[in-house]
Symmetry: none
């Protein structure tokens, strides 16, 4: 992946001046442009003028001299240079490729957010300690809950998937709390089924700590959850793409494993032995 935006743009900013004869004042402005490369794209003509120690009209004339319609046009150009240098293979391609690349963007933001390991580690401990561990996901989020639970069950002795709604849902939540659960993991994704939010409220009322994986830090889940873990949902195709929430779920599961490495190891080995005996898999 390419360099920082600043580095790339200095080169390109220079290209803007190519072959154009500049007056001394304009040269000063140009110099100022390269020097404050990224910031200038935000400034008004008057601000650039002050920065360069020239008059505001000179900045306008400078923009025109470079062949633009006016100062705003030049600034737009600068913005494009500093911002629109996207990851590697550029944008474009067909609409399917664009959707996939947008999804990469979602993952990148997720990665940035994971710089702080402590937060996720603590949430992992929280969930690891809950016996049983209810995992809630309705409608579109149900598969994600099942996916998480499938793997989680290999390292946690009592994972309970709650993936159908109706009145039984609250029963199950309360039963889990009764059986000793201290936390619940919920997947709350667009379009936010009403049932899901009701269930969150019930879970909270039952004394459970609510951990929500949801699509945005300002999703409807925030007001019902104790811990909110955001991961964007892709919306470029006809239907939503849940790759970032899925990734976050597995990262969280990793944190759960890390919370009790010895237990995890023991349980995984037990599963392997069983799988081998039953010849579940190829190879």
């Amino acid at each position: 992946m390419n360099e920082g935006a600043a580095g790339a743009s200095v080169e390109q900013v220079l290209d803007l001046f190519d072959g154009v004869r500049l007056t001394p004042t304009q040269r000063r402005i140009a110099h100022c442009l390269v020097q404050h490369a990224p910031a200038v794209a935000y400034l008004s003509a008057a601000e650039v003028a002050e920065l360069a120690g020239v008059s505001q009209p000179s900045v306008t004339r400078f923009a025109v001299a470079l062949g633009h319609d006016g100062y705003p046009a030049l600034r737009r150009r600068l913005r494009d240079l500093t911002i629109a240098t996207p990851t590697g293979s550029a944008d474009g391609g067909n609409e399917l490729q664009q959707a996939v690349r947008a999804e990469m963007g979602n993952l990148d933001r997720l990665a940035a957010q994971l710089a702080d390991r402590d937060r996720i580690a603590e949430t992992g401990r929280l969930l690891a300690e809950s016996r049983p561990l209810p995992v809630l996901g309705l409608r579109a989020a149900a598969p994600l809950a099942a996916y998480f639970a499938y793997f989680a069950a290999k390292v946690h002795p009592d994972v309970r998937v709650l993936d159908d709604g109706g009145s039984l849902l609250t029963d199950r939540l309360e039963q889990a709390a009764e059986a000793g659960a201290s936390a619940v993991l919920a997947f709350v994704l667009p379009r936010y089924p009403r049932e899901t939010l009701d269930a969150l409220r019930d879970a909270r009322a039952a004394g459970l700590t609510v951990v929500a994986i949801t699509d945005s830090p300002v999703s409807p889940a925030t007001e019902h959850a104790h811990v909110v873990l955001p991961a964007a949902v892709g919306a470029q195709l006809v239907f939503d793409l849940h790759t970032a929430p899925m990734t976050l779920a597995m990262v969280l599961l990793q944190a759960i494993c890390d919370a009790a490495p010895a237990d995890t190891q023991r349980r995984l080995e037990a599963f392997e032995a069983s799988a081998a005996r039953r010849q579940l898999f190829l190879g």
Copy 2:
């Protein structure tokens, strides 16, 4: 670019919302802010308004609600956040971040592979024509099958999820073929449950065209499938990450929709009407 800057700012953008009660419209704006984090710092109030689908005054009010003097003040704040953040975060980072970035690599390869639209479009037609359409995924792949089927059912009149194994599985495959199915979509992921491959063989014997989404062009699925769509599985964490197969599944679903746009539109509208009537979702 790398999204280093963008990613970091998303975190900080959130701090701006802290503790403030937002109206639905303002929530939309907030959502739009996080989503287009870096670019918004350049936009005028009216542009943000259009992006968020609200009126321009609402954007001003949003800025004031957050405690600023006006929209320009909020934008200045955003600029400071996006600029002051060192571009940072190339490769490296902690192991969680590395895993997520590896997943981005998988998606990138998937995107490259989608340059050829025709192949996926043809496969989409193949599946769209099958009535019913059986979707097979066992064990770890079961949630993916369910996820695909959940959405596919909104645009296809008869989707049948086959996600538990046992002897009934083959019964169901044969029943689907009997009922008129011409193709089957199968998710074949590591660790390749024996049952899954047996089912593929049976499906083929029943005269179904087998489309397999699998983790590699040389996976065990290839010898039983007519069409093989590969998408890598992430293996950096304790458990497998299925984001690329998930993405491929949704791309394939898009192709299915494109195969019969009118039908798709009609069915989606019918669902929307029903959802609205039943008040399934928030908003």
